[in-house]
């Protein structure tokens, strides 16, 4: 297998693989007050203001329900050529995240179950395949 690396290892790690590919675990956080957030940070809890030991890391499976999608037709940044599709996903653990739909995904609609997986998005200078999180319809 070709060597690979994650584009944003601070935000997610590789989970178990199924026949659709590698699943993803998001690096979230949980406050003593019960608030679950993404990504993990130690500055302080947005709900109650606690910081330090009150905030602990937790893994959030990249499974959730689609709240909205939008295909971007125009985008000024040349590093991200349009079109691409942004999805807003309510994770099963609570946090709402916004990220990219997989290029090869079937069209999605609000209410559908979606899953995040690792997808090859390019090559590093040392020849590794670069993997990033992309959502698609849950199998």
């Amino acid at each position: 297998m070709q060597p690979s690396k994650l584009l944003k290892p601070g935000l997610y790690s590789e989970g178990s693989s199924d026949r659709e590919g590698a699943t993803v675990r998001l690096k979230g956080g949980r406050c003593r007050c019960g608030y679950v957030f993404f990504p993990m940070q130690t500055y302080g809890c947005e709900r109650c203001g606690s910081h330090g030991d009150a905030l602990t890391s937790c893994e959030l499976p990249a499974n959730g329900t689609l709240l909205a999608e939008a295909t971007v037709h125009l985008h000024a940044d040349k590093n991200r050529p349009a079109p691409f599709t942004i999805v807003k996903v309510a994770l099963d653990d609570g946090p709402v995240i916004r990220t990219l739909l997989a290029d090869d995904s079937a069209p999605v609609a609000p209410g559908q179950r979606v899953t995040g997986r690792l997808a090859a998005v390019g090559q590093s200078e040392s020849g590794e395949t670069v993997l990033d999180l992309r959502f698609s319809i849950a199998s």
Partner: protein, 379 residues
Amino acid sequence: MTRSLNELRPVYAVGIGWHRYQNPSETPYVELGLTAIRAALADARIEWPAVESSYVATALLGMASGRPMLRHLGATGAPLMHVENASASGSTAFRHACIEVASGISDVALAVGVDKRNPVRRSDTGIGHLAEDAIVPFTHFALLTNEYSVRHNASAEDIARVAVKNHRNGAKNPNAQRQQERTLDEVLGGKRVSGSLTALQCTPIGEGAAAVIVASEDGIRRLGIDAGRAIRTTASVGRSERVYPPGAGFDAALTKETADLALAQAKLAPKDLDIIELHDAFTVEELLYIESIGLCPEGRGVRMLKEGALDIGGQCAINPSGGLIAMGHPIGPTGIGQIGEIVMQLRGEAGPRQHGGARTGLAHMVGVGAVCYVHILQK
């Protein structure tokens, strides 16, 4: 014990002025700002030395842009401060000018907004993100458009009608950046930007200036200002985003709590409003916010729009200026320009876009962050 604005001494908008909102040009910001301030002084029929304090709203001009502009009015030594609060910069400047006069610290204060379309620069928080670089404002609102459409069974055409109305209003406003009526086909057929949003459903990039002078009753008497053209600010509320239930749209939730507080402060109900100027940078926002303000139940905005209830001459004229979609959104000036429009309407001086019998107006802005500001003005 704390007090709200309308429990302090009364404060009135007495002078309004603009430099037309326009496409980015070579015109220096100093000229944009001075044009608006001199128009506001002329409207109030007062001279610059009467202004005791200035609040300069700007998001994109960089540090200390106010004094190089204001000095050309004659350097009086009066205090000035800069206000940056994203899209709500102008609304925030107006609030603090009102507070200064209502508190008794000054009798006459200026809120002026001026901006050129320079690049937006935001500092890194140190917290990573998945793909926020790919989610510019029009995509944030394209996502909300998708949610609204599905939740309330509203078609792309239904939502685009907001733009048809606001371009029609803007066509009658000499200070608007876009002054052309557009058909539904033109709006829908334009360049696709993100999701179902087309270019004519999005605020244009532009520049301009707006100014409002506020005064106390003492100031009005002392300077011989026409009290019959003075419009009182009866509520001022600023809020910032809290943690809402997962999936709740923060723009709408924040608007609701801010508008509720402002209506309570002025002892008014939503049905009492004749005019609303609100943050319609993207069409769906107008529907979300009239529902948040309480003009109609959630999901009923499209019906009001189709019935003409939101037109000039309808039940409540929404964005008679043309709103951010047609009048434009040069950032710093926008919230101050909204106040100017409401003042013009309440005085009965809005000419071809006059909403008959207007006595009560509400101005609403959200700013990325998110913050929300609501003011109510009454005749």
